[in-house]
Homo-oligomer: 380 residues x 2
C-alpha cells in the first residue's frame, strides 16, 4: 500500500448560503486545487447525501465534474448518509494507496437551507431504520433516547452536556468559516427551546449549506494520512446491546490506530462529530481520547478547550461551525490539515497528530481519520 | 498494486419482481457469497442509483448491510447513475488492490416497476444536464438524437440497428435470468410503437427490477480482473464535438486495456451497454472490438451472434436480460464470470477473456472491465 498525503484542503463559509450546491462545491474544490498547486486531478470523488431530493439533480459525480470544468476527469459519488464526506475521503485514499491514481480531488457538500425544517427532517430521517421511522422516530428523537441512557447509566448531567455547546460556540468565534459566531452560556443552552427531551435547540447542530474539499496524492507532502478506519453497526437502535457508546466509532478507531501504529495518546487535536452535544462526550470515550466515564468531567474542567490538554473541535464542531451533511467529514479533515500546518488563524493550536471522527446515520457508519504532519512542517 | 480476483458472482432473475429492493439485493449477495464459499466479507460496497426516490430509503449502505445480516461489516454506497454497478465494482477493486481489504462483496440493485413510467422517466432524467432537461429532454429523446447523427454520418440503417435487438432477444431465450424470453424479428422491431423517432419500443431496454453481486478477493481464484478503466465526458450533449461515438467509452477502454497489457483482439466475449439498440453499434467501435464504420455490417453478418467471431451480449444484454440500473454493471460482470468458468448453461460460449462495458447517464461516466480466466480453468 502506497503512503497517501494531503496536498491541499479548503472549505466554504458554512451557513445559510444563496449559492447553488454546485457553486459551493466549486468554491471548495477550486480552493483545494489552488492550495495543492494543482491544475486538474487524475480523478474526482464527490460526496453528497441526497442531491436528488435536496436539489433535484442526479448523476451527481458527472454533474459536479462538468461544473468544475473537469468533465474529462473520471468521477464517482460516494454516500454513507451524514458521514459521506469521510467515506469519499476513504474512497479517494484507496485509489491513491492502490496506485490507481496519483492525485484525487475529494469534494463534498450539501444545500439544505432552502427547504423548510420538516422537509429536511424527513430527508435526514430516511437514514433511520424503516420500522423505527414508521413509528415517527426522527434523528433528534433517537439522539434524545441515547442521551437519556447516557445520563441514567453514565453519570453525565445537564451541565456537562451543555458545556460541549458552550465550548464549541466559543471556538467558532475565531472561525470565519463557521455558521455561528456567537458565544452561548450554560444557562442559555439549558433554557433554549426543547427539541426532543432532554435535547434543546442549543444542543443541536444547525441546518447548514456548505462544501469542503481535499486533494490527496501519492507524492510526499506536508500532511500524511497515518490511519483510516471504518466501523458499522445495526441500522435499528433497538438491535444494539448498549446505547452509552457507539460500536461503529470504537471499530473505526481500532482500525485507524492499528493502521497508524500508535494509540490515542499521540492525538493532539480532534474534530469530533457533535451533531448533538452529548455525542461529543460519547465519542471522546469511544475514541479512547478520554477514559471511560470521564468525558463529562474532562469537558467541565476545560481539558478539551482550545487551551486544554486536548483541544476538541477547535473549529466549533458541527454544533457551531455547522453541519452541511456530506461536507462535514471533509470540513473536519480540512480543519485538521490547517491546524497541522499552522493555517488555523486565531484558533491555531499546537499539534502534530490530528484526528477526525465522523458519524453516518445514527452511528451506523462511522469513520476515524488520523493525520500526521512531518515534524519539520509543524509549528515550533 | 495487488492482483484482484473474482471469487463468486450471482444475480437475481431480472424482470417485474414483487420483492423489495433489499430482498433482491439479499438474494444476489447471498448467492455470490455461497458461490465464493465465504461466510462474510471484510467490506461491502452497495450500488443503487436513487433508493431515496425509488423506494424511500436512504443511508442505503447501512440499510443493505443490516438487511444482509452484515451490520458489523463496513459498507459504502457508490453511485454513477446507470453505471453505478460498474463503479461499485471499481471501488471494491481499489480497496482490495490497495491491500485495505482481503474480500469485498459488491452488490447492486434497483426496484423500479412499482412506479409508473412517467415517474421512472423523471427519475432517470435527473441524470441529464439541467439546461437540456429544462427543455423537456428525456433519456430516449437524447438517445434518438444520437441515433439520428449515427444514421446520417456513419452509414448505419434501420435494419442494422434492429438486428441488435433481434440478436439480443434471441440470446435471452437461453437465459433463465432474463426479463424477456421471446424472440423478435426485424419487422416486429421496425413496426413496434414509436418512442422517440427513430427509436421504437423494441429498440429500448425495459424497466426492470433486479440485483447482482460479485465477491472480490486478493487470493488467487479462477477469474482475474485483468483491467479496469473509467472515462467521463461533458454532462451536456451540446458540449460534445462528436455524437457518432462516446469519448467516455474510448477513454475507459484505453485505460482498461493499458492495465491489462493487451488489446481488444484478445477479447472473446463482451457484455455491452445496449440500453438503446444503436448504443451497441456505437460501443463496439468505441471499444475497438470492431473497426470504425463496420459495426452495422458485423451485426447483420452474424459476427456478434453467439456462434459468431465475437459473441456480444450472450445474456441478452440490457435490451432483453433487462436493465435494473445499478444492478446492470454487476450483472454484466456476473455473466462474464459465468461464461469464463463454464457456468452459462445453454448460452455458453468459448472464451478466456471477457469484457464488460457500462454507460452512466448519457455516456458521462463509462466503465470497461476486463476479466481473464486462468487457462486451466477455461472450457476445453
Amino acid at each position: 500500500m502506497l503512503d497517501v498525503w494531503v496536498l491541499g484542503a479548503d472549505m466554504t463559509r458554512i451557513g445559510r448560503r444563496d449559492d447553488s450546491l454546485q457553486d459551493l462545491m466549486a468554491e471548495a474544490a477550486h480552493g483545494a486545487l489552488r492550495a495543492a498547486g494543482l491544475e486538474a486531478p487524475d480523478a474526482l470523488v464527490v460526496a453528497a447525501m441526497n442531491p436528488e431530493e435536496f436539489v433535484g439533480d442526479g448523476n451527481f459525480a458527472s454533474n459536479v465534474g462538468a461544473y468544475l470544468g473537469l468533465a474529462g476527469t473520471p468521477a464517482i459519488r460516494v454516500e454513507t448518509a451524514t458521514s459521506s464526506g469521510a467515506a469519499a475521503f476513504y474512497a479517494g485514499f484507496a485509489q491513491v494507496a492502490a496506485g490507481l491514481r496519483r492525485t484525487v480531488l475529494v469534494v463534498g457538500g450539501e444545500k439544505m437551507t432552502h427547504l423548510d425544517t420538516p422537509r429536511v427532517s424527513e430527508l435526514i430521517g430516511r437514514s433511520i431504520d424503516p420500522y423505527e421511522r414508521s413509528y415517527g422516530a426522527t434523528m433528534p428523537a433517537l439522539a434524545a433516547l441515547v442521551t437519556r441512557v447516557l445520563m441514567a447509566r453514565h453519570g453525565v448531567g445537564p451541565r456537562e452536556i451543555a458545556q460541549v455547546a458552550v465550548k464549541n460556540h466559543a471556538n467558532a468565534l475565531d472561525n470565519p468559516y463557521a455558521h455561528f459566531q456567537r458565544a452561548v452560556t450554560v444557562e442559555e443552552v439549558l433554557e433554549s427551546r426543547m427539541v426532543a427531551d432532554p435535547l434543546r435547540l442549543l444542543h443541536c447542530c444547525p441546518i447548514s449549506d456548505g462544501a469542503a474539499a481535499v486533494v490527496l496524492t501519492a507524492e510526499r507532502a506536508a500532511v500524511r494520512v497515518a490511519g483510516i478506519g471504518q466501523g458499522s453497526d445495526t441500522l435499528a437502535l433497538r438491535h444494539r446491546d448498549d446505547l452509552t457508546g457507539f460500536a461503529a466509532t470504537r471499530a473505526a478507531a481500532r482500525a485507524a490506530f492499528a493502521m497508524a501504529g500508535f494509540g490515542p495518546e499521540r492525538v493532539e487535536v480532534a474534530e469530533v462529530h457533535d451533531a448533538f452535544a452529548p455525542f461529543e462526550l460519547i465519542s471522546l470515550e469511544d475514541l479512547g481520547l478520554v477514559p471511560p466515564g470521564k468525558a463529562g468531567h474532562a469537558t467541565l474542567d476545560g481539558e478539551t478547550a482550545r487551551d486544554g490538554r486536548l483541544p476538541v473541535n477547535p473549529s466549533g464542531g458541527l454544533k457551531a461551525r455547522g453541519h452541511p451533511l456530506a461536507a462535514t467529514g471533509l470540513a473536519q479533515i480540512a480543519e485538521c490539515v490547517w491546524q497541522l500546518t499552522g493555517r488555523a488563524g486565531r484558533r491555531q493550536v499546537d499539534a502534530r497528530v490530528a484526528l477526525a471522527h465522523s458519524i453516518g446515520g445514527l452511528a451506523t457508519n462511522n469513520w476515524v481519520t488520523i493525520l500526521e504532519v512531518e515534524r519539520s512542517q509543524a509549528l515550533p
